[in-house]
Symmetry: C2
Subunit: 292 residues, 2 copies
């Protein structure tokens, strides 16, 4: 049996086909253009794939309330053409199979829980530090939606004492995303993250913000695993600094061996590398087929 997986990002779309063991057989990738153009490519890709169901992990914000007439629509995104776009209804017209849908970061958290760093655990959070910052939440064996869906990328972090950067978030200025996303990093230091040397002070500052957000999320949610992905986390020196900052912030308050002693396994890179979101989408498709 084969299932379709769509990672619908604001920058690029990835489509793939995989089986129920989480093995991806094939994939394509293309930049995100206007919805009609992009979805035509998605539809073309899956047309001859004989898939039983499709799972989608999408950029947002998204309407995820299954009882809403706008279920599966994008809501108010600045991405041209996508605001209010009926992503799921459009795909449902093209393919008469069960669909699973969640946010990109929830999908990534789910992928990690199924086949990655959080296997056999009933909770984890997945934080991406990329063009945007997002936090996916898997708690008590379920992906968290609630009123809309989690938007933890905008947590109100404390400013680093030596940081005069105003932040890039159009809503909050110096929220987590405003201070620690890839574009914020680039604007603050005048070079993209990938071009900064390993020992640049930028990384301490990144760790200050990311570690604070991780500590806040641990306090509020007590996840069994914290997974950090996204382009900015490609800097291998960053993860150990984040772990240090998490321990410094919590200061022994959360009395758990995972945090006090085993933080290298507790705050970790994705077990699935860059495929966490895509494999999570696959898992959502498999679930949709099981629940059909």
């Amino acid at each position: 049996m084969r299932f379709g997986a769509i990672e619908a990002g604001g920058t690029k779309f990835v489509c793939s086909v995989g089986n129920s063991d989480g093995i991806l057989e094939d994939r394509v990738q293309f930049p995100t253009e206007r919805p009609e153009v992009t979805l035509a490519k998605v539809t073309e890709y899956f047309a001859d794939k004989e898939i039983q169901a499709i799972g989608i992990g999408s950029f947002g914000p998204l309407e995820l309330d299954a009882s809403s007439p706008e279920y599966g629509h994008l809501t108010t995104t600045p991405k041209p053409g996508w605001s209010g776009y009926p992503l799921l209804p459009h795909l449902k017209r093209a393919f008469h199979v069960p669909f699973g849908l969640d946010t990109d970061v929830n999908a990534a958290a789910y992928g990690e829980a199924k086949w990655g760093a959080a296997q056999r655990l009933d909770s984890c959070i997945y934080i991406t530090i990329g063009t945007g910052v997002g936090i996916g939440i898997y708690a008590e064996g379920r992906l968290v939606h609630g009123l809309v869906h989690p938007e933890g990328g905008h947590l109100f972090v404390r400013r680093h004492p030596e940081d005069g950067f105003p932040g890039t978030c159009p809503f909050h200025g110096d929220c987590l995303e405003g201070m620690a996303s890839g574009p914020a990093l680039e604007k603050r230091w005048g070079l993209p993250g990938g071009a900064l040397p390993e020992d640049h002070p930028a990384w301490r500052m990144q760790a200050y913000y990311i570690g604070q957000a991780v500590a806040d999320a641990i306090l509020l949610l007590s996840p069994k695993k914290v997974i950090l992905g996204g382009g900015v986390m490609k800097q291998a020196q960053l993860l150990p600094m984040v772990r240090q900052e998490v321990q410094r912030r919590l200061n022994g308050y959360v009395n758990a061996k995972a945090i006090l002693e085993d933080i290298d396994e507790y705050v970790t890179a994705p077990g699935l590398g860059d495929d966490a979101g895509l494999l999570g989408a696959l898992a959502l498709g498999i679930d949709a087929w099981k629940d059909r």
Copy 2:
């Protein structure tokens, strides 16, 4: 059928008996002394009550992993005699009925979801601003535990620009609890909250911290209802100020009618008043009986 409910607080214990509709028939209350003294009173109270199960909402930190040999023990509390105390095992020896156990704030969130302000919703958070600050989480129809249990009372809030108070938290200084608990309020202004006039600047500052924590929790978790209880929230002027602060912080980012228009119903006082925790404990007892 009758069920026992225990609200085990660091200051006082409340024991009660109720039915499956959430009606409490009777109750007793006594100060929290050393465990042996306190639990002797609990045992005496329930001895002749013919209850089918007992639910407990307890102060913590608590071991809530049912597979741990320390399940139901207090862990590292500064409360004399209680550190490591086997609360649940002790009560299980006295009463051979099913037991339900959760944190005090999770119990309160559950009570509100069953019979209070979050009825018919599958998520809510309950924040108590009292001697301590705690955040209980009910998400996707389940109480959240995870690695230990949520400890959102210690979120790393931003300092108010006019606040020079160092904070009272022995671990973090100026975390949420360190800045906004009842004792922090009293230490900062030299008078307990109940003795400060309604128009005192203390309340704006309280709202600044509490509103920030609520905004962070909304971003991270997207609950369908936010319920604010505890002694400090007895100040009726505080809740509207908190709502204002939540909206100011989020600044329209979370595009949900509940937040943008209906915040008076969204961020609200407990529907069960001071009985949220006790009724939540009752609900945990009822669940334990159903799952027996």
